[in-house]
Symmetry: C2
Subunit: 180 residues, 2 copies
């Protein structure tokens, strides 16, 4: 008993939880496991080391690591004298959380707001057009209300994301609870 196996198992359990968790938000379990594996490494890893670690193809490592880069969950590291690309897991989970959701939320916000504004003005012109039938106008007016309040919600979400990005959220929910 030198403890190596036990440590490995304990890590494995956590890696599993991490990847299942990430999977809840549409990230592949493989990508999650890669992040988890990198998280427990002391230093940065090369693609070949990842391939070794997870027993998967180098191609997969390449694409998976790119996904993690886009999510800012790993960073590329430069090290003197090393030719291979090196990647390291972002260790600060507050930051990871913020990046992850900021990226997704912003994408969703702009997607939805632009679609809604476009449709909103189209629908408005239906209401303004006297050749449009009345029952359609009624529906149109209902839709206008819905879209208006949906846009309002997205503006709120935008402000929420701002407070994440600026870290102001930590003034509202501090990282540590007050000692009593």
């Amino acid at each position: 008993m030198n403890g190596e196996k036990e440590l490995e198992l304990a890590r494995e359990r956590v890696i599993d939880a991490i990847s299942k968790n990430m999977n809840l938000y549409g990230v592949t379990e493989s990508i999650g496991r890669l992040y988890g594996a990198m998280y427990f490494q002391e230093g940065p890893l090369t693609l070949d080391e990842m391939k070794e670690e997870l027993g998967m193809s180098k191609t997969s490592m390449s694409t998976s690591v790119r996904s993690l880069l886009e999510l800012k969950m790993v960073g590329k590291v430069w090290k003197k004298g090393v030719r291979k690309d090196l990647y390291q897991a972002e260790p600060d989970w507050y930051q990871t959380f913020i990046d992850f959701f900021t990226i997704k939320w912003r994408a969703g916000i702009s997607l939805n707001i632009s679609a809604m504004q476009k449709s909103l003005s189209e629908i408005q012109s239906l209401v303004d057009n006297e050749r449009v039938e009345n029952h359609v106008k009624n529906q149109a007016n209902l839709d206008i209300d819905k879209l208006t309040s949906a846009i309002e919600y997205y503006e709120w979400l935008n402000r929420l994301v701002d407070s994440f990005e600026s870290k102001e959220i930590f003034e509202f929910i501090p990282k540590k609870t007050e000692k009593s």
Copy 2:
């Protein structure tokens, strides 16, 4: 030109954006379209009406609506004299947002915290065991630090979720900006 087609197209664009957005968080586009379609309906819908609306099987509607129920994005509605089950989209997107992420985050939190606490105590016992090799102990100590701060992060996230559930978040980020 009675405007019906134009209204339909304008809605379609928004439904598309909604479903693509939901898809970012691991929800099928079909399920997203179903929510979108329901969102624009005036009243609640039966499974058969949904099937009609989306041109899909009733089985799919049944399972999709169940997913939406679990996410609290739709609710079951009772209406006198109607035998079929009726479902209605939750119209308040603030609430939808809160429910959606609260559900997911809480699931992830408990998953991770319990895995981490278990592993943490296992790793601690490696450190305490004098038969464990030194280089393993060093690794173990690093892991303890990582897990400890990860758990701290999850406790923060838990408090954040609390503030969503209790609506206190709206004191920090108000629904409407102050009029100037």
